[in-house]
Each structure stands twice: as C-alpha cells, then as structure tokens.
C-alpha cells in the first residue's frame, strides 16, 4: 500500500495508507494500530479506494495530547475525511476501537453517510459479559485474548523486535505507552462512552462483522449492536477471534465487499 501525510484543519498531521481503485472507503484501525501487514485492507483494495488513516499517538507525528475525549476523536475522524478530500457520501469502516469511533462519527454527523461497516467494534458494555481489562494484561495474555492462533499474535504484536536490545525495548515501551495511552482516553477503564444512547441516530445501512470466538468482546455484543442500530445486518465469522481481520481476512473481506457493493 502507498502512504502519504495529510494535515487536518486543526493542524494535526497523520499518515494514511492508501490502495486500490473504486468508490472510497475510510477504514479506522483499532487500539493496536496499523500493522506492517494489513491483509484485510489489501483485499478490500481490489474493489475500493481504501484509505487507512493512523490515529494521533500511533505514528511519528505527535498531537495525541489534543485528543482528550470521545468527541475529540470523532471530530478528528471527520477532519481526516475532509483532509482526504472526500465528499459526504463516504463509506466508513473500523475495527474494534476504530469501529467505536466510526460509529460515533456516524451518530454525530449531520450528513448522509452512505454505508458503515464495523468489525468487532468496542463502545458498549454488558454487565453480564464484562470485557476483559486489556490495560492490565501482560503481552502474552493479550495475545491469548486477541488471537485465535498465538503464533499470529506474536507476528502482529511484537514481530521482529529483539527485546534483549535495550534500545529496542525502550522504543517498544515508548510506542506502546503512546498508543495505548491514547486509546485509554476512550477505552479505560470501561470502554463505554455512552455511545449506546446515540446509536438511534445511525441511519445508514450498517454491517456488523464479528468472530464467533472473540474472547475480548464476545459475541453477545454483536447482538446488542444489531439491536441498537436501526438498519444493521450481522455476519458472524466462524471461529474468528477479536483480530479476525488479521487472522481470517478472506471471509471478512468477502462480507464487506458483498455489503459495500
């Protein structure tokens, strides 16, 4: 995928991955950030012009201190869409935290969003199904909570880092502190910023994709989303974990392409 820098009207700079031809789709990544390999985006690029902006705190540019609450994140999302030069009939997608923000953007926008696709979005809380506290998890625990196959977790989360090198370790700690520190502003300690009371406003056709074996945000959340969003359809990926876009990109891409057209 190609990458370029954009600057929002607020003056925040961010990196955007881009690929493909066709109608535009803006995809917002989850709390783990953009990875070296983005298998879902590569597949979507066969059918759409995919834009994957990086959230402040996740790239080399600073600016994350300007995002303090959910409204800041959602408005930044729209600023990015504007900076990409896209018009109102944009299609949005997001995974996990990115899905939470994309849904919030759709709820606050006074515009006719064409379509919204959410893969295992965060943002709701069910007392009967508490989401494990990812902020207190050690790396190996995180791998188990996120991935169906631990090998995949190591590849995506810590791939290629030599932790015996003190500089590499410190870089990893700094990167991790910036990324999850930023994510914590909308996910800590409970990933619920009252989106549920605004979801009635989400009138665009919406696809919810969920892995049947998601251990971080389990399947009952998919049903809750379907119930709260007025025009939602649900696709469940058999055996998928929370990181289903990375472990099972084929079926996820197929569902999104079917929905987006």
């Amino acid at each position: 995928m190609q990458e370029r820098q954009i600057e929002t009207r607020r003056g925040l700079k961010c990196r955007v991955l881009e690929a493909g031809q066709g109608a535009p789709l803006v995809f917002f990544h989850g709390a783990g950030g953009l990875f070296k390999e983005e298998p879902l985006l590569e597949r979507l690029a066969a059918r759409c012009r995919v834009y994957a902006p990086e959230w402040p705190g996740y790239g080399v540019e600073g600016g994350e201190e300007k995002l303090e609450d959910m409204l800041d994140f959602a408005l930044h999302g729209w600023d990015v869409v504007d900076a990409l030069g896209l018009d109102e009939s944009v299609r949005l997608a997001g995974h996990s935290m990115g899905g939470m923000i994309a849904a919030e953007m759709a709820c606050i926008a006074n515009r006719s969003l064409e379509k919204l696709a959410l893969v295992a979005p965060a943002g709701l809380w069910l007392d009967a199904h508490p989401i494990p506290d990812m902020f207190s998890m050690l790396p190996f625990e995180l791998v188990g909570a996120l991935f169906a196959e631990p090998k995949n977790g190591e590849k995506f989360l810590t791939g290629g880092i030599d932790f015996s090198n003190p500089q590499a370790l410190q870089n990893f700690l700094v990167t991790n502190a910036r990324r999850l520190g930023t994510a914590g502003k909308i996910l800590f300690p409970i990933p619920n910023r009252r989106l549920s009371k605004r979801l009635y406003r989400l009138v665009a056709p919406t696809l919810i994709v969920w892995g049947s074996a998601d251990k971080l945000i389990p399947l009952p959340y998919a049903e809750r989303w379907q119930k709260l969003v007025p025009h939602a359809q649900l696709s469940v990926i058999d055996g998928g974990a929370h990181m289903v876009p990375y472990e099972q990109p084929e079926p996820v891409a197929a569902e999104l392409v079917r929905f987006l057209g």
Binding site: F135, S136, M137, E141, Q170, R179, L180, G181, K185
Partner: protein
Amino acid sequence: MPWPHLPENFRETHRSVWVDISSKLYDPAEGNRVYHEYMDQLEYADSLGFDGIGVNEHHQNAYGLMPSPNIIAAGLARRTSRAAIAVIGNSIALYNPPIRVAEEFAMLDVISGGRLVAGFPVGTPMDTNFCYGQIPALTRDKYYEAHELIMKAWREPEPFAFDGKYNQLRYVNCWPRPIQKPHPPIYIPGGGSIETWDFCVENDYNYSYLSYAGYKAGKALLDGYWERVAALGKDESPYRAAFAQVVCVADTDADAEKLYAEHVLYFYNRCLHVYLGFADPPGYRTIKTIQSGKLNQFRAENQRLFTSLTWKELVDGGYVIAGSPETVRERMEHMIKSLRLGSLFLLFQIGNMPNDKVKHSTKLFAERVMPQLRDLWPEWKNDDRFWCKPLETRVRPEETFAARNGR
C-alpha cells in the same frame, strides 16, 4: 499498615496483593485490633519524641490498610499534641471535587493546632488507575489541576469561580481555613517520574522518594533530583528531600536478624507481590520518564529480586537498615549525607511484625540513634520552610479533657 495474616503460600495462590486481592483474606473483627495496634504505635512514636508521625493513602490492598489516611490522622490529632501529623498524602486527582482535600486538610491543621504536613501524591497506578478508574494518560493533567485548585482555595481570601477542565465550581470557598499561612508545608511523594522534580523545585515543595529499594538504589534518583535543584538555581537545603527507609534496631546485629528477619521477609515476599499488569498501565508514566530509563519499582526484575532476597542481601544492599544502635546510626548517617536528606520517613512496623518488637525497635532508635542524627546539617538548622509551624498556644486534648471532666 499491612494486613499481617497473609498465608504462607500467598504468592502461589494469589496473583496480586493489590487491586483484585480476595477480600476473604480480611477479617474485620481482627481489623479492629490491628487498626488500634498501629495507631498505638504511632502515638508511641509521638511519646518518644519523633518529630512527626505519618500516614498515607492506598486502596484495595493488604499492603496498606488506609484508603482514607485522614481518618487515622484525625484520630492521631486528638490523641497526640506534639508531633507533626504527616499525611503523605491525599491522591488529589481522586477527589471529586478536590476541594474536599483542601477542606479536610484544613480541618486536620486546625484540630491539630497547625501540625499538618500535607502530602500530594499523584498516586500509584494500582490505586489511581486500576482501583479508582482514572484514565492513565490524563492522570497527571488532572493532578496538576487539582493542585492548582487546592492551593488557590487556601490562598484566596474571598470566594472565587474555578473553570477547570476536570472541575467546574462556581463558588470555591474553603471553610475552615488552615492555621498555617499561606498553607501547610507540601510534600510530594514520588516514585521516580522526572517531571515531579521540577514541580517540587519550582514550588519549593519537599520531594519525598518513597521506595523499598533502599538508599543505595535511591542514590541515583536523588542525584538526579539534586541536579535539577541546582539547574533551576535553587538553594541546596537538605530539607528539600525526604526518603522512606525500613529500619530495625536491636541490641546487637545478630539480634536484629533473629528478631526482625521473618517480618521483613513477609513484607518483601507477600506485601510487595503486585501483579505486573497493574504496575505500569500505558499512559501513566510520561514518555520523558520512560526515555530517561527510570523504570517502575514494581517491574518484573524487582518483583523477582525482592522475593529472592535473603536477610543478608536486604541488609547489605541497603534495602533495610538493621542492626545494633551503632550499626544503624553509622549507616543512617552515611545515607543522610550521601543522599542529602533533611527528612526521613522511617518504617519500624513492617510486614507482620508484632507490637512488642515494633516498640522495642522504635524505642531503641529514639533513645540511642535519633539524638545523634539530629544535627547533621548545622548550616541549615534555621531553615523552617519545609516543616509545619504549630501554634505556640494550642489545645492539648488530653489536658483539656481531664480539666473539663475532672479526671
């Protein structure tokens, strides 16, 4: 104030002494005895001539049983009338609104006749983020705002409006007011975040390094602090720095091991058994601090180290200062001079140490060590900026009670 009844196999059967420890381990009826024993020990220290007696704030743990140190401090304010009451401190980002701290500290200062030393910790990640749900990346920002609000509430003579990011108050009007003007001395307990140094130096607050890694490990950190003091052009008063140290005094060095080793090991093995996932949530420490290479004292290496240490290693490594009065005096003098310390927070009760041993150690220290450590900074002996200034004429509750009630 540790819970003294953690099982032998606590480490194997529980993942953390803090945050999610099973409350089945706590027995409230035994707690009644334990609180009074610990408060008795603090009152005993007052009677032996210590300058101050200290309490602090922790939540959801068996390592420190004071979610509200102000409650203990209020008891001490009534039962003592001489020593400073050092509340080290209230985690000001956790109070909603933080004006509550301005009020309660003012109450303590007034009840104690101006004996309050006021501590404002950012708080450990375990307490602040995991127990009290504060967002790690915003904790420090919220802390600074709370500090600004409290100090303004103490300084401003008239009601004012406060339009903060985390606190919006139309009428800030602290009643009662502290006795000490413009405010009680401020102590900032820190675990090693480097921006805390500049905050202390710029405001002339005492920086209190609270660690269980002992004075040898503390030296590197205090050196960094003193460099900032010099760089910011401030004087080098030793009263700008305080340090926490575990101290065990016995008649001889051999007796110290015999009397205290099992209790100190209980502390290092069980009371510091914190689940690593609670020690350092992303966003709590600033990028600057991580880049400085100063790692959290609850990190993995320390967890392994603390639990494997023998008594000899704890003593030789300076984690614990233990031995005869002469041994303790010699090591403490070295510590005070090399770290340049004006104040010390000494922990005599530790782990599951029973009352008779605590009193034995405390008394030996007060009588045979303390007098010889009092005059180590003669050139700064008139520096009263960092300690409380009690009223000359203040109520002494034990006397007034007896006079009023004819006893």
